[in-house]
């Protein structure tokens, strides 16, 4: 049975924890709003970009002269997995879900006898994958000093990916990130970026464009930008998801702390009452003995 003093200390410490989680929740909420705005602002560019590229690749994609970024290397041997996670923890299952998806995919590919290379963005994913897949690591992008992800960061990452592709280091590249659905739901997503894949919703009117300098010329110019755009979209979605996940995780933690305080307070009061009763009994029995 813990003493009254112990209980009191315990309650105080849980109260302090609750204050911290509450504060973290508020901070995450504010950051989430900003991240959502950024994701919102980036959408027109990404959508337009995808629409144009989808139209272009539909008309050029089948020809033999199609750029390698679109048509692929012709092989399907070496896979690059770009695992994008957060730099910080305390955000519920955010990092683990991405890592789980990536790990399943990696093991699947390895079972098929393919080579897997892993590029990690964000240190949490790297830490989790280090245990069993560290042999496949080829690089890491550190964003821990970055306060606000910008297009430049996406460009750096995509340049890294493209340089590796040009060097013939891999055939297929896939991004792993969490797509933001709502504060309580983020969907771990695997998106193939090289060779480029587009949802085939274009086909209406897009084919009527004139292209300058030429269809191939425009495509060659656009494809690297397309990779950067997709990386950027993934970064933004990830940013919003991270804050959303952290917000709901901290909300849960705050609620748990509250419940724990209630429970501890009940125990505290009960033992205090027991002590008082005990004392009274002693006094009364002492008085009766006289």
């Amino acid at each position: 049975m813990p003493s009254l003093k112990d209980l009191k200390n315990r309650i105080q410490s849980v109260k302090n924890t609750r204050k911290i989680t509450k504060a973290m929740q508020m901070v995450a909420a504010a950051k989430l709003r900003r991240a959502q705005e950024a994701a919102e602002a980036g959408r027109p560019y990404a959508e337009r970009m995808n629409a144009v590229m989808a139209g272009l690749s539909a008309s050029v994609g089948t020809s033999a002269s199609a750029p390698r970024l679109l048509a692929g290397t012709g092989a399907d041997k070496v896979h690059l997995l770009v695992v994008m996670t957060a730099e910080r923890g305390l955000c519920g299952g955010f990092n683990s879900t991405i890592v789980r998806l990536a790990r399943v995919k990696a093991n699947e590919l390895l079972a098929q006898g393919k080579t897997v290379k892993i590029l990690t963005v964000g240190k949490k994913g790297r830490e989790q994958l280090k245990r069993d897949l560290s042999a496949h690591f080829v690089g890491h992008v550190d964003l821990s000093d970055v306060k606000r992800v910008g297009y430049v960061h996406a460009q750096t990452i995509s340049k890294d990916i493209l340089a590796r592709f040009d060097a013939g280091e891999f055939d297929v590249a896939t991004l792993f990130f969490n797509r933001f659905q709502s504060v309580i739901s983020q969907i771990p997503t695997a998106q193939q970026v090289i060779p480029a894949k587009f949802e085939a919703d274009a086909g209406d009117a897009v084919a009527l464009y004139d292209y300058e300098p030429s269809e191939e010329g425009v495509l060659v110019d656009l494809l690297p930008r397309g990779v950067a755009t997709q990386v950027f979209t993934a970064l933004l979605e990830n940013g919003a998801s991270e804050q959303g996940a952290r917000m709901s995780a901290m909300d849960n933690a705050t609620r748990n702390a509250g419940e724990m305080i209630d429970k501890l307070t009940t125990i505290y009061n009960r033992s205090r009452q027991a002590a008082i009763t005990n004392e009274l009994i002693e006094i009364i029995s002492g008085a009766e003995a006289l």
Binding site: R48, Y209, E212, V218, L222
Partner: protein
């Protein structure tokens, strides 16, 4: 009143401009062009230069470094990787961009060399334009 077309300028991070313009001057990769209402649908890549949108009551000019423009009969949307309003443009900013392009040109493979050098030249023109 002249017929207008919808002009949109978006960068990856945000929408920079969106209004009804009478004409839009675009620094296309194969030469400058002006789009007005009823233009044939065209997609062109951009070279570094000044993008100018002239509306009924305002004119906006941006320095763009690259990207592409999608022109339809009813509108122009420009997707620029980097766009700065000309009023906010400073010489040092341009110098930085030129340096960057220059170092890229120096590293470029022989077959890309011409294109990279052209990029530098385009930027120099932009710099020259800025000085005046």
């Amino acid at each position: 009143m002249a017929a207008t077309l919808q002009f949109d300028l978006v960068s990856p991070e945000k929408r920079l401009a969106s209004f009804q313009a009478v004409e839009v001057q675009i620094p296309g990769a194969d030469g400058d062009m002006t789009a007005m209402e009823g233009h044939a649908p065209t997609i062109t890549t951009l070279r570094p230069g000044i993008l100018k949108a002239i509306g009924a009551d305002k004119t906006l000019a941006f320095a763009v470094t690259g990207g592409f423009a999608e022109i339809t009969a009813a509108g122009v949307s420009v997707l620029a990787e980097q766009a700065v309003a000309v009023d906010d443009l400073s010489g040092t900013m341009l110098d930085q961009m030129i340096d960057q392009a220059r170092s890229l040109a120096d590293m470029a493979l022989p077959e890309d060399k011409d294109a990279a050098e052209k990029l530098v030249q385009d930027m120099m023109v932009l710099r020259h334009h800025e000085a005046h």
